[in-house]
């Protein structure tokens, strides 16, 4: 380490001590909140916020990881380590555990945590963004705002530039897919759930230029983003490419093999049904997650049978 950087570090430390804790005003989905400068102890209540923090090299101290530590994937843990405390499920995180971590910033989901926003705010400044029903664009905007809140604007700018370059490269590699309709769906063994054009995955596919044969809903509610469907309706939508995330094996779609209606789906008939990791695709969002999905897509497009 050079003398120069040591001095700079010292100066920075002195500045931190000398200046009163400044606050940054952050406008988010549930209001405007003063966030202390450079929050150190951050608790996040959705995976997409882990993504954002990992993108700018910040390790959260608490994650609502659904009490499953491996749900925070290696792409994140290689940056944030595995020192975080689980604060319970994303649906109902433990307020006591959050409080015991003495956080200085909480990042929550708009729809999931609206009802406890007041309680969270009593623990620490809380900012909320639409992760559950937001699109790719919404996730990118949220990432920038969060980076601003944690005082990592420069890092995020750099990461965003890298991200844009990467995504553009992926897009170039994928090429012109405007002639292809693609559909992401979840198969949980009892039902299939299509992610519509207003969902995160739908918007990501649209960003790469894929068409969707699903009608575009007006709103952004959860039931408009994730639609429970039958085989008959899938046969009407009839996408040319199916990206399938299975939470159960064998899935419901596997039981349809041999049925003409299923076998004659364009995607199935032409061999353009691809399995992707359900957890990564359906639950993770953000800068890093979208790059993972995009890399998947590049592989998939290479295998496309025309």
């Amino acid at each position: 380490m050079s003398i120069k950087s040591l001095v700079a570090g010292f100066a920075g430390a002195i500045m931190l001590v000398a200046l009163p804790a400044q606050a940054t005003e952050i406008t988010h989905d549930l209001g405007v909140t003063d966030v202390p400068d450079h929050p150190q102890r951050i608790v996040v209540l959705e995976y997409s916020f882990v993504d954002t923090l990992a993108a700018v090299g910040v390790a959260p101290i608490g994650i609502a990881d659904d009490d499953k530590r491996d749900s925070v994937v290696p792409a994140y843990t290689k940056v944030i380590g595995d020192e975080w405390t689980s604060v319970g499920t994303r649906k109902s995180p433990s307020l006591e555990v959050i409080a015991s971590l003495k956080p200085d910033l909480i990042i929550a989901d708009t729809s999931r945590h609206e009802a406890i926003y007041g309680a969270l705010s009593e623990i620490a400044p809380t900012i909320a963004f639409d992760s559950l029903t937001g699109t790719y664009e919404v996730a990118m905007e949220a990432a920038k705002t969060i980076a601003h809140a944690v005082g990592k604007d420069a890092e995020m700018d750099a990461r965003m530039a890298e991200h844009t370059a990467k995504m553009d490269a992926f897009k170039a590699e994928i090429g012109d897919v405007s002639g292809w309709s693609a559909q992401f769906l979840i198969d949980n063994g009892e039902g299939i759930f299509l992610h519509s054009p207003v969902s995160y995955n739908g918007s990501l596919l649209a960003w790469f230029g894929f068409k969707s044969n699903m009608p575009t809903p007006d709103g952004h509610t959860y039931e408009e983003a994730v639609v429970n469907t039958s085989l008959e309706q899938l046969s009407e939508i009839n996408p040319q490419i199916i990206l399938r995330g299975k939470y159960a094996d064998p899935g419901l779609t596997d039981s349809w093999v041999g049925q003409p209606l299923y076998d004659n789906l364009d995607a199935v008939k032409s061999g353009n049904l691809f399995d992707v990791t359900a957890h990564e695709w359906s639950r993770l969002r953000g800068v890093i997650a979208s790059e993972v999905s995009a890399a998947n897509l590049v592989d998939i497009v290479k295998q496309l049978k025309r």
Partner: protein
């Protein structure tokens, strides 16, 4: 109107409902004009596949659980001498849902598979409700029966709803199961149902005389050579098996067992020899119609059958309680 004509009308209504259920769906290439042709002539088209592979099993499952549940309700009402008794009011359906939820959430407690879990839940709930109502002592109290059923049902649903607060995927699984979604019914689910329905119909017909006698009261039954305890036991077993089989195939479908015997009594009188076939036909028709509604109510998306039946049946139950001035 002669009885034969009434049956003919009812049968026609069931056939029409079945036809509607086959015709309505998301695919635009199946219509009322070509559905029969598609059903009987194999032209190799996808429309044919949609009708035969997807809609026919579903229509069969809907009709058959209608038969089963309506017969179960009729038996329950006969043995309890209570016109309000039925699977949903006695907590049996909710017990089945609880069985499924337990199986999904705590895989360690899973016995064989979800179907078996549904039947175990249904039978346990039924036994508890009946024992609370004094059924073990041989003296059923109809008020206690209903209050106990409601409480058993409430307990079951408390747990089912608790699973909704757990993992996203788990809650979706439970929700699909407990709302009786039959949109992916398969032919191999319809066949066992057909067996149960046939058996149920035969046994119900055989019991029709006993049910008639039972209505006269325990003393009179014994005088007429019918052992009321034995008749009740057989009736209860019949109801439990028919309900269990339906729940295993489709999930809990509410109120069919209440509504159909009621309506049929209005039209066919109280003689069980006529009631049994009428209730069986009517049950099939009712669930088939509910299936049609379930496809239309949020077209092109489907609404599970169980939800539609509850939306139809619950107001009917309210209507029935409001009308009956001196019930129980």
């Amino acid at each position: 109107m002669p009885t034969a004509l009434r049956f003919a009308l009812l049968a026609t209504a069931v056939l029409l409902a079945a036809l509607l259920s086959l015709t309505i769906g998301q695919r635009s290439d199946v219509g009322i004009t070509n559905v029969l042709q598609l059903l009987f002539i194999n032209d190799g088209s996808l429309a044919r596949s949609a009708v035969v592979d997807l809609r026919l099993p579903r229509t069969l499952v809907a009709g058959l659980i209608g038969v089963n549940l309506a017969l179960a309700g009729l038996a329950l009402q006969a043995i309890t001498r209570n016109p309000l008794a039925s699977e949903s009011i006695l907590g049996i359906n909710q017990g089945a849902a609880l069985g499924v939820a337990v199986g999904l959430v705590v895989p360690g407690l899973m016995v064989v598979n979800l179907d078996v879990m549904a039947i175990i839940g249904a039978v346990l709930a039924g036994i508890i409700t009946f024992s609370i109502a004094g059924g073990l002592g041989g003296r059923l109290d109809s008020m206690r029966l209903i209050l106990a059923g409601v409480t058993v049902g409430a307990f079951s649903f408390a747990f089912v709803r608790f699973t909704f607060t757990l993992d996203d995927n788990l809650s979706r699984l439970v929700l699909t199961w407990t709302s009786a979604d039959i949109s992916s019914a398969r032919l191999d689910q319809a066949l066992p149902l057909l067996l149960w329905a046939t058996g149920g119909l035969v046994l119900s017909l055989a019991m029709a005389h006993n049910f008639n006698i039972l209505a006269l009261g325990d003393g009179a039954s014994q005088g007429l050579g019918v052992d009321p305890r034995r008749a009740r036991l057989i009736g209860a077993m019949l109801a439990a098996v028919l309900t269990g089989a339906s729940v295993a195939a489709a999930g809990p479908v509410m109120f069919v067992g209440l509504v159909m015997p009621h309506l049929c009594r209005l039209w066919f009188g109280t003689n069980h020899r006529l009631l049994v076939p009428a209730v069986a036909l009517g049950g099939a028709g009712l669930v088939l119609l509910a299936d049609v509604v379930s496809k239309l109510v949020r077209f092109p998306y489907e609404t599970p059958l169980g939800v539609i039946c509850a939306l139809i049946g619950a107001p009917y139950f309210l209507y029935a309680t409001l009308r009956a001035r001196n019930m129980a």
